[in-house]
Symmetry: C2
């Protein structure tokens, strides 16, 4: 007899991103555009080593023993200051909770805010863990259609009329997977719907600092007069993804409840937080972020050029203003699964849109291509290969 | 208007353990028996420093970048071997999932196994996060009475007749907070009830290696013919609590589902796992565990003697065969809240049983005293103070 699992965990949701990596691992010279990893050349290795040693040697037992549940207080203060000065979000009535990677918040928000069957609204194509986390909690992920400016307010409102909505999940800057950035006007329109239906907004902003063209757009959090917005930030893309340090910044009462739920998981690794704080003391952050932007911008333009030179004219290439991902739409009539398999066999691994859909019945017709992790050489080579196969499948 | 939180997170569950620490922090010379921290003198600081450096210098990007979702494969293999050789649990049909501290499993098990309203059975006095995690998931924690051998099988069966039961939470060795160890016969009886009602058993064993008297008792997992048992292990009490590395070992299908749910939280910090693995390579584990047992045994006997010399004869002192905690029961007629406050004011901080109850209507009449974290001097002094106040409240 098998164990009587609840409905919510009976369906297994598989990562199609990992599937690309796994298939590719047996192909010699495989060029992966599948990961969402930061550019390795931008990780300040020597400085991080110094930070590790400084933290350990200053007080080994602060590293090796349990520490305060709240996390490293100096890093929290740094975040409050960062949110006020760089994101224009003062701390009045707001609080911070430290996370083991900002990804932890994708589960904590619906865990704290949603009852069984409550609805979470997401872009049709979005970060899969946000969809999966809602699903595994017994909440209902609902896909909302968008255009080039992101989620459509009237489509959101249509869904919210169910009165079962609790939460909107958004990545307003350089969205994963589409690379799109939501203009201020659209943010304000979405906010109006959230206000009307009392929906919380989870503003996921891991890539926000990596803008290499266009102007900074104010975050939802910066005009959150109604205390609806939880802002999620991360050090993964700026300093180190491996340390798994992220945070949520939001209304005091929400953060308090999220913290209580989080605490049942036990304490987050304090050492990792202390290393990040020490690295922030050691680094020239402005100069470092400038370097990140230049590197990412250069890699993005390299991919853009190679794709435009080689892709079928029937493809639509969306070039982002920042972040890590390019999005290539193909005609609806093309068999995307066959095309994806052909890509991998030929030695290049983008990720097909089905990996990101929040509505399993709509797998879509597009590919996400990461340009931050591969080398410049691989970007050029891989994009040419990708383009060649688009011409095979979509025509010149 | 406040946000419409779901029922399950509306009630705030507060840690009465932390309350003791907070109150005590303003009292000069305060001796805390409140924490569940390992003996600091047993943490192999220099060896851990070596492990940190070795791991970083061998491959910095394996530390600083994202790694495999599965965790460190060598540490997983070590665990499989450990379970087979030291716990007599072969790996056939079983699997491992790495956790960010074994505490993460307290949430993952009910998250994966329970629907809204499903019942989780726990000892009346138990580790609070197990109760809180079930509650915050919308499951129903149900307190089961016990005796000196632990949970009573007939009481468990009485509850399980509801047919809403999904999970039993147990700490069979040196239970937190009572220090009790469940004899083999009782384990077998509990297992029979689990089998009959198809309940999973979460066997939490963070203290199992720290036995300083009596004989090893086979784990539930070692006779789990029906694939009902998830065994939870930790490196916090053996090597370092601060690194937050634990694991679950259980039936393949359960671990697979738990892993899928866990993955929505993102990746666990890989560095921490690598450090633990390197430390296991560097250390003489047998000798280290022997030293742990001697240190903990000595501290336990010291507290036992000091309590027996000073406590009211109307107290019942439960002396454990291992682990970190002593349990002192007081007469039902005594006002335990007043007594607890008087303890803290006098400068000693045990934790009253209300902190551990899984049934808020039954706060109980007992105190948990930790002897691993305080120094030998503080144990003697604090236990004498504790005893003195028991005589004030309970009579000689």
């Amino acid at each position: 007899m098998t164990y009587p699992y609840p409905e919510k965990t009976r369906l297994e949701l598989k990562s199609l991103i990992r599937a690309v990596t796994e298939k590719g691992s047996s192909i010699p010279g495989f060029i992966s555009f599948a990961l969402g990893s930061p550019a390795p050349e931008c990780v300040p290795v020597d400085l991080m080593r110094q930070a590790y040693l400084d933290v350990f040697d200053q007080d080994p037992m602060a590293v090796l023993a349990y520490g305060p549940q709240i996390g490293d207080v100096r890093l929290r203060d740094w975040i409050v200051d960062y949110m006020a000065t760089r994101q224009n979000c003062p701390a009045d009535g707001q609080d911070v909770v430290m996370l083991t990677g900002s990804g932890q918040g994708l589960r904590l928000a619906p865990h704290t805010l949603c009852d069984d069957g409550d609805e979470v609204y997401l872009d049709l194509f979005t970060y899969p863990n946000a969809t999966y986390a809602a699903h595994y909690l017994g909440a209902k992920p609902v896909a909302i259609d968008g255009d080039d400016d992101g989620m459509l307010p009237d489509k959101l409102e249509e869904a919210a009329r169910s009165k079962r909505g609790k939460l909107i999940y958004l990545i307003p800057n350089f969205q994963n997977p589409t690379g799109r950035t939501m203009p201020l006007k659209r943010r304000e329109e979405i906010y109006e719907v959230a206000k009307k239906y009392h929906l919380a907004i989870y503003e996921d902003d891991p890539y926000g600092e990596i803008r290499f063209s266009g102007e900074h757009i104010p975050s939802f959090k910066s005009f959150d007069s109604e205390d609806l917005v939880i802002y999620s930030g991360s050090f993964s893309k700026i300093l180190s993804a491996g340390l798994r340090v992220g945070y949520l910044f939001g209304p005091e009462d929400m953060i308090k409840k999220i913290t209580a739920v989080k605490n049942t998981d036990g304490q987050a690794p304090l050492y990792n937080q202390k290393i990040i704080y020490r690295a922030l003391e050691l680094i020239d952050l402005e100069a470092h972020i400038q370097q990140l932007r230049e590197t990412y911008g250069k890699k993005c333009r390299l991919m853009e050029r190679a794709l435009k030179d080689s892709c079928s004219s029937r493809c639509r290439i969306l070039v982002p203003d920042g972040g890590m991902f390019m999005w290539v739409e193909i005609p609806d009539a093309v068999d995307i699964d066959a095309m994806s398999d052909a890509m991998i066999e030929a030695g290049v691994g983008p990720v097909k849109s089905a990996a990101f859909t929040s509505d399993l019945s709509r797998p879509g017709h597009a590919f996400r291509l990461n340009y931050s992790a591969p080398s410049e050489e691989d970007i050029v080579k891989g994009a040419a290969l990708f383009g060649q196969i688009t011409r095979q499948f979509c025509g010149d």
